[in-house]
């Protein structure tokens, strides 16, 4: 039985461990500490936790000020709310080159019943557009912990995207995070290669297994760091495949799909590209399973889209 854990849970537990190791780590939240799981840090280090109330703009600026005075600030809220304060992140964090870790939990339609207004679906597009901003999305709990450790010493701003729902572990327990290097989890993708991120990675692996039974050789790559993007790996594996696929629980505009399209086009690599994700539409209420199925983001949805596209290339 695969290990299942929400990356937000891994985030909360790891914060406490890192808080012990790095005294400069401070955490801020905006009345969602129980949901983002930053509450674990509050219990362990009450002096280094700042409850800012429902005032995200002020939280981001405060996190920047703490960082500019020598701290490493983790500023937490839902992905949609925190990246919605775009200009505060743009000026007070990115332009300031402050060591703020903007943490957006509740990414994607898989949050379920709360509906679109609570879903982070444009956050990667926003954060990716800012000069110097690192954009990360772990695929499971061990990757979350490894990335966070990296972020305690990284110089400059970063965005970390976590999920509400449990994700199936895809990495070994002794996983080592390599900054900006995508991980080829399933090799031999001569028919298609799927570049997936976050919760879509496990679904892409299951889709590839199903397609293999039908005779299709499909590779899967975990693009955990969306910026800086590992263009070398993306181009190398795309060249070996007939079809290139991206999978993300995010709008295809501005997210991983766009990033891979830019990479292929700039290199002049002519491959058919299928971008799986939200197709310029709003999310809605439903169970996570229903929504992942509806938007064709689950393993069956990915397999169907890859299968269909392979017939045309």
């Amino acid at each position: 039985m695969a290990v299942m854990k929400a990356t937000r849970d891994a985030f909360g537990e790891t914060l406490v461990k890192l808080g012990e190791k790095y005294p400069e780590v401070v955490v801020l939240d905006a009345d969602l500490a129980k949901s983002t799981k930053s509450e674990a840090f509050l219990k362990a280090f009450p002096d280094r936790f700042f409850e800012m109330g429902i005032a995200e703009a002020n939280m981001i600026g405060t996190a920047a000020g703490l960082a500019l005075a020598g701290k490493v600030s983790f500023a937490c809220s839902f992905a949609c709310f925190i990246t919605g304060r775009f200009d505060q992140i743009r000026i007070s964090v990115a332009y300031a080159n402050a060591n703020v870790r903007v943490v957006g939990s509740h990414a994607g339609v898989a949050i379920g019943e709360d509906g679109y207004s609570q879903m982070g679906l444009e956050d990667v597009a926003l954060m990716r557009s800012l000069p110097g901003m690192v954009v990360m999305q772990p695929a499971d709990d061990v990757e979350t912990a490894a990335m966070m450790e990296y972020l305690c010493t990284h110089q400059g701003p970063a965005y970390l995207r976590t999920t509400r729902q449990k994700l199936e572990r895809v990495n070994p327990e002794d996983y080592t995070y390599r900054f900006g290097k995508a991980v080829e989890l399933r090799q031999g993708g001569t028919d298609a290669v799927i570049f997936a991120t976050g919760g879509e990675v496990a679904f892409a692996l299951h889709a590839a297994e199903a397609l293999a039974k039908e005779g299709h050789q499909v590779g899967v790559v975990n693009v955990h760091t969306l910026k800086p993007l590992d263009t070398e790996t993306i181009l190398r594996l795309s060249e070996q495949a007939r079809l290139v696929v991206t999978a993300e629980d995010h709008q295809v505009i501005g997210g991983l799909g766009s990033a891979v399209a830019e990479t292929l086009a700039e290199a002049g690599l002519g491959r058919r590209l299928v971008r799986i994700g939200l197709q310029d539409v709003f999310g809605e209420s439903g169970t996570p399973e229903q929504l992942l199925r509806h938007f064709q983001l689950d393993a069956e949805g990915i397999a169907a889209q890859v299968r269909g596209a392979l017939q045309g290339v």
Binding site: F50, M52, G53, A57, T62, D87, I91, S92, Y95, A96
Partner: protein
């Protein structure tokens, strides 16, 4: 209660004369640049002079000294006033002043901390600097460091919602390491602040948010020094100093005229302004 004895008459005169000399630099810089914000630079220069040349704990030769006081000019468009102070204090050579707003200059049109050591944060997208200053003050308190954080905001800027988010949060953290100075010159781009979006009763509002509120004439050097000392000595609350100022202060044809918020003087106007200011400095000598 003031932590220092009241400023001497000599100290007040020295700072006032220096401030009026820096007004000359501001006009010269803005005339050379051909764009920028004279009104709000001239309204806050007395405040900045009192800080830079008397009360700010800093070392221009070691701008990143960990225990320095932080000065965040949240109304970033007034940065010519800050550059004039910084050049005078020795942060950089005076020869840089005429490069204001030119491509490749470290003297950007609005403050940028990453390219000019001594500037604490990028500001100018209004409403943001106070939150950043608050974060710095929290760090000071958390680490038991001796530094104080001074944040200058504009009156038009106080229309931003984020200012009021910070107004709510700083007293919650009992941030006595933070002092905000409101440059209340009464003007903004579209008109008088009271017509565009009135702040009044501004003292009552900040008092209701649990700040220690002081009101002064922002061009009375003795009053400025007294308020800075009182703010630093006050415990368990952040202080909000309402500095009543005049937009364009020191140049007769700019004073109180909101058209000088964001337009610069032509050659003849510059000559007239410089003649007035130099006469003033001479008189004060």
């Amino acid at each position: 209660m003031a932590s220092q004895s009241p400023a001497s008459a000599e100290e007040v005169a020295r700072l006032q004369r220096l401030s009026d000399r820096l007004r000359v630099d501001i006009i010269e810089m803005l005339h050379k640049a051909g764009s920028g914000h004279p009104g709000g630079s001239l309204s806050c220069i007395d405040l900045l002079t009192a800080l830079y040349f008397s009360r700010l704990r800093h070392d221009p030769k070691a701008p990143l000294w960990a225990e320095r006081d932080r000065l965040v000019l949240s109304k970033g468009h007034a940065v010519p006033a800050q550059y004039a102070c910084m050049a005078e204090a020795g942060y950089f050579a005076r020869e840089l002043l005429p490069t204001l707003r030119q491509q490749g200059s470290t003297l950007q049109g609005h403050p940028v901390n990453t390219i000019m050591p001594g500037l604490e944060a990028p500001t100018g997208s209004l409403g943001q600097g106070l939150s950043v200053a608050q974060g710095m003050a929290l760090a000071s308190k958390l680490d038991g460091k001796p530094f104080h954080v001074w944040c200058v905001i504009g009156d038009g800027e106080a229309q931003e919602g984020q200012i009021w988010e910070a107004a709510m949060s700083a007293p919650k953290f009992e941030l006595d390491t933070l002092t905000v100075i409101l440059d209340y010159n009464g003007g903004q781009i579209d008109g008088h602040v009271k017509d565009v979006m009135d702040l009044e009763p501004v003292a009552d509002k900040w008092r209701a948010f649990n700040w220690n509120v002081l009101t002064i004439d922002g061009h009375d050097m003795g009053a400025i020094l007294g308020a800075l000392d009182a703010a630093k000595a006050h415990k368990n609350q952040p202080t909000f100093i309402i500095a009543n100022t005049v937009k364009g202060k020191g140049v007769s044809f700019m004073e109180g005229d909101i058209k000088w918020h964001g337009s610069t003087p032509d050659d003849a106007q510059t000559q007239k302004a410089l003649t007035e200011l130099r006469a003033l400095v001479k008189e004060e000598a």
